[in-house]
Structures are given as C-alpha cells and as structure tokens.
Symmetry: C2
Subunit: 414 residues, 2 copies
Amino acid sequence: MKAVKIPHIDTKKVEEMILALGAIGAHSGTGVWRTVYSNEWVAAQNLVADWSRAEGLDVRFDAVGNLWGRVDGVDGGKIIVSGSHIDSQCPGGRYDGALGVVAALVAIAALKAEFGSPRKPLEFVSFCEEEGSRFPTAGFWGSRAIVGRVTPQDCDTVLEATGDSIGSTMAAIGFNPARIAEAARNDIEAFVELHIEQGPILEDANLPVAIVDAITHIRQTKVTLTGQSNHAGAFPMDIRCDPMAGFAEVVTSVIDHAHTLGRPAVTTIGQCIPGPNSAAIIPRSVTFTIDARHPNPEAAALLYQTHDRMLSEIATRRGLTLETQILIDHPACPSDPDLLSALGRAADSAGVATMHMASGAGHDAQQMAKICPIAMIFVRSKDGRSHTPEEFSTIEDIVAGIKVLAGALYELAY
Amino acid sequence: MKAVKIPHIDTKKVEEMILALGAIGAHSGTGVWRTVYSNEWVAAQNLVADWSRAEGLDVRFDAVGNLWGRVDGVDGGKIIVSGSHIDSQCPGGRYDGALGVVAALVAIAALKAEFGSPRKPLEFVSFCEEEGSRFPTAGFWGSRAIVGRVTPQDCDTVLEATGDSIGSTMAAIGFNPARIAEAARNDIEAFVELHIEQGPILEDANLPVAIVDAITHIRQTKVTLTGQSNHAGAFPMDIRCDPMAGFAEVVTSVIDHAHTLGRPAVTTIGQCIPGPNSAAIIPRSVTFTIDARHPNPEAAALLYQTHDRMLSEIATRRGLTLETQILIDHPACPSDPDLLSALGRAADSAGVATMHMASGAGHDAQQMAKICPIAMIFVRSKDGRSHTPEEFSTIEDIVAGIKVLAGALYELAY
C-alpha cells in the first residue's frame, strides 16, 4: 500500500474563506441566515464557484442547484467526492455545513497544487437545503436529488411557510424543476463529508477530530394524547381524564429510559402543544414529539418498541386516546469499513489524534450512502453548540480535520 | 321566625327567556358569543331591561354598564340583591351567567306579583365582563366597579387583543369612562348569585341544586424553568440540562399531590410553551402555568407552600433556573352563615333536595363580598360541562334553583 501524503493546508486562507462565507447572510453577530435559493444562498454558492475556478477546477451547478467542482483523473472512472451544504438554520452558525464545503474545496485544491492530477476524478459538492430551514419537508433536498429521491412532482408539493412551492422558487433563480431528475448521479465511488460535531463529546475527550462510525437512526414521532377538557376549578381531580398528566408520565418514562440505556441513546421531547393552551382549562389534548436516536440498528428497534409499549400502556391505563404519526424515520447509516480505515491512516499520517463516534445528527452523507460508500469526519465544536450563531470551532481543529480529509482523498484518488 | 313562602315560578316562561337570550349572539348551535359592550351584549341587556319594565320594575344602567332592576321596599333601607352576568366565553353556553340574570329577574317578579311590595328593596343585577373574554385583564369588571375596585385609569390601560381600550369601547356605546366611579355602591345588605355548577358533583350526587359554602382560593402561577438548549441528536443524555424533563417532574408532582389531598383540592397545568418548540432541539426553557385551588384558607396556604417547595427542589436538583410570577390570586371567599341558613330553609320549604359544596370557579359574588354578605346557589350541569356551547341544565333543575333563590329573597326582604 502506498504511503499517505498530506498536502500543505494554508491556515490563513481557510480562516479567510470561513469569514468571507460567514459575511454572506450574516446574522446576530457571528451567525448566518442563508436559506436555500435566497439571494444570500446564491451569493454564497457563487463565491465558492469563484474560488474553485481560481484553483483551476471545472465548476457547474446541477439541475437542483448543487454546486460541483472537479479535477479530472488521469485514469478516469468513478469519482471520489467530498462536500457538505451551504444553507443554514434561521439563524445558524458559520460552521454547520459551510465548513465541509470549504474543507472539500481546500483539500482538493491543495492536493491538485501539491501532487498534480489524481488517478481518479475528484469532486467537491456544495449541497442545497440540507437543513429544511426554508422548506420544512425538503431536508437533504440537494443530496436526495443526487441519489434520485426527488421527483418533479415534489417541486409542486413541497412548500415554504408562505405557501410558495420549492419548484417556483427554484425557477425564479433559473433552475428548471422539470429537469430535476438530471441531478441524479451513478458515477460516484466514495463520499466523505467533513462537518462540525454539533455535540460536546470531542471537547470532553480533549480531541480535535473524530472519525464517524455511523450516522444514528433518527425517528421523530408526533404523538397526541386526548382526554377530556373541563373547567380547572369545578372538575374534581378524581374524575378527570387529563392528557397533561399522561404527557408528563410519558416524558419522564422515555427520558429516564434513555438515561438508563446510556450513550449513544438519546431521546428528546422538543415540542409540546396543549389544546387548548389555557391556564384555567384542563386541556383536551396534548400533542408532542418524541425524537429518539440510536446508531445501532438492533438497539434502535428495541428503543422504538419500548416507546410504543410505554405510550400504549400509559394511555390505556389513563383512559386517554393515543394517536401516533412517524414524521421522520432515517435508519442508521454505517460508515464504510474501508473508508474508515483510510481515514484512520490519514489521521496517523497527519499526526491528528482522533476518536471514533456515531453522529447523533443527520447528514447529507446518509443520503449519499444510497449510491456509494460513505464516511464522515467531525471537528470539535465549542461547548458542543450548533444551530446557533454561537457555534465555533478553532482554526487549529479545522485544519486538523482538513488534513485528515485530504490524506484520505489522496489515498482514494492518487 | 316567619314561614318561608315560595312564589309560583312559570316554567314555560323561564324556558322561553333562556332561549330568547340564547338567540342573541347565538353560536355553534346551542352556544352564544356575547362579549361585553358588543352589539349582542347591548341587545341582551336591552331585552332583559324590556322584560323588567314589563314586570313593573324600575330599570337603569349604571356607569359601567351593569343593568339593575328594582322593586322598592315599604321600609326602605339597604337592598337585597341577586344577579349574575350576561357576557359569555368565546363561545360559551346559554347558561353560564345568563341563567343567574334570568333567575334573579324571575324570582323578584314572581315575589312581587304574588306577595306585593317587600319590606326591603329588592334588586336584580346583570353584571358586565365577568369572563374577561373580550378584555383579558378585565374579569369581574362590572362587579369590581360596584365594589369600587375599578378606576378611570383602568379604562385606558385595559386593552382587548385588537389594542382598543375598554374605555374607548364603553364610550362608543354611550358609557362615560370618566364617570365609572359612580357605579360604586354601599347600600347593599346581601347578595345571592345563582349559577350553573360548571362541574359534575351534583350530577354524580343525583341532586338538582347545591348551596355554595365558599368560593375557592384561586392562584395561577406562571413558571419558567430554564436549562440549556442543544441539538437533540448530538448532545448525550448524561450532560443535558433539559427543562422539559424538569417540567414533566413538576407536572407529576403537583398533580399527584392534588390527588393525594383529595376533594376539594384541584391543580391544573393548562398551558405549556417550550422555547423553542421544535422537535429536534432540546428546549432552552419551558414556560407553564399552575392553577391550584382550595376553598379552605389554611389548606390553600399549605398547598401553595408545597408547590413552591416542589418547584424549588426540582429546579435545584436538576440545575434549572426557576422563575415564578403569580398571575391571579383570589383568596377564598366564604359564604355568609346567615345567608346559608336562609338558603337551607328556602330549599326545605320549596321541597328541593340540596347538598353543600365549594365553588371551584370564580364568580362575581366574590367581588360583591367586599361590600356585603354573599352566598350562591348552584344548578346541576349536564356532564359538568361549561364554557362550551354544550353546557346544559334541565328546566326542572333550573326552576328548583329559582325556587330556592325566591324563598331566600322572601325571607330576607319580606
């Protein structure tokens, strides 16, 4: 096996690129508000395209709006790809997504500059609407188009809060929804995504970079418990059928269960809407979400079974009506063992200390897994923060992550 | 002591009056939507005024818009008053409030028709804005004006959701806010209010009418528990500071405590607003209300102390910040023992089976208690429902309640 080579990464240039991107859609001081197909998003994609051309890459937008930059391979064949997304939460930080775009461009440009043309083609990609922050049901829109999971009909049915369709929004900036199927690819050999961790595990471990074993199984379930609404004063406790009391028992049960399972199981009740939502009325119903995640498929299945059993038992015992609807269900996505090995060797060569972990968040990589092997690199996040203007990673950790990425791309493409 | 006499009550007439009032602001089939100072409210007050004049009563509106109907007493002196309110929830039912207005008018008119002039003056009153359904901070507006607890400044600062002040709204229909203090009275000897129960206790006991011992202490507290917001997937359970978990423990603790205390203690968590309220985010805060009631002053004090202790202990143990704000605090209002005795004798004379209970809801009577002895009569509510178009009381129960009221007014005024 050939020795892994790590190209020189220009720290100052990386820092300037992050700040330049962060200035487009800047919000709340250190944050960005850059939703897909907005003026800010177009400006950010165009800036990345300009940088890519300056590095001598072939640049193109695909039918859905993903931006690609390419270095041809001497031997041709399938492509080695790295990238992430440039859209943000409302507002989000400068690093979530954008860092992976910058990292892929910087790594590929540095490899090309230092080692010339690769054997296999190398491409970076800047995906659109990973977050679903403008079109709530369009999460992973760009990467789903690449793996053939978006239809022209989706362009009419996916709406933003204003009622505008994603298709009409695309069309307004020059992307033809009728041609969206053309974004699909079947010529990718491997995909590696660099991203901020979004949690505190690296910080706790005092390490700059992680190699991601798997993306967790994510299931979000909408639950409604319905009882009987009555006057808060005139209705005795002993004959109430109070969904709020049932809700509280569910919250305690599922959260305590996740604590008992321990890492990496997580369960979150993030949304709660009593109906009505009024101080002097026993609510008729409480609608809430359970977000439960585990990267191990068997453990995830058992977790969801346990939740179903808890909900059913609590509702039945309390005489509450139970309705459930699965909103999101992304099965666990294991990383490719060969890619994990390549990342490990690259980290060794770059002298970057790493640990392995599962991603508790969803990423474009799990969509890409439908057409090719994938793996991910995480960079330490200050205080584990993300989806906030406060998110921050040091330039030292970022460059360490880019070196690991560049080493792996070298092994795969050169 | 003189024998209590019960006048004849015309069942058909009472039924027609309830239906005629229910037609003004009719909503959702059997409901009404009749907010204070609206066209519907003016029409309802005017209809009651017309009925009163037809019965030979002296009719007047006071400065705030309460409608009064009077039969002079041969001996003069302080007045015996009965009444309730004509405004409704949005929508409410035909009975909450309106029944007590009809009952007072019917009882006084029947007494006058059958027994002539009383010794003491008798008046009925139709209060305005008991519910606070148009102006949320104006609950008991009419009765508060009578007891001198409304100022001309309130007319500027009390707003409806549209931003219009209660003063400008009054002025638009001919009531001068500057004269609101003129609504205050100090010439009332006793006040008796008939109202629907709004709970299921009479129905469970298979009785038509209750004599109300006391109006419960009502305290509504707004609570905010603040922890740390983080990503629902990337943040391990063991280092979360999740206010939703703390909220659930509070709900279970305070509701279980009310169950343990038993009737008449009640505790309700009716409102819950996580911040943010999003499925994939551990909330930073949960804001909620605790509505807790007990008619016994010592028991109420102990109940609130226990809640404060539970909140403090749970927040401290979980590392959550606790903020509390008391929104409403109406101390318990005991009924006058002599009026209770009079109501008991009236029920015996009328042959109406009764029980004693506390009111778990607030009523105009608790305002009137600041200037005179009070008591209340409850009429059975079907399924204990109120604040809904579905509220219903049978005409037989209603007439039984009016007979008890009329008998008590006879004893007090004749």
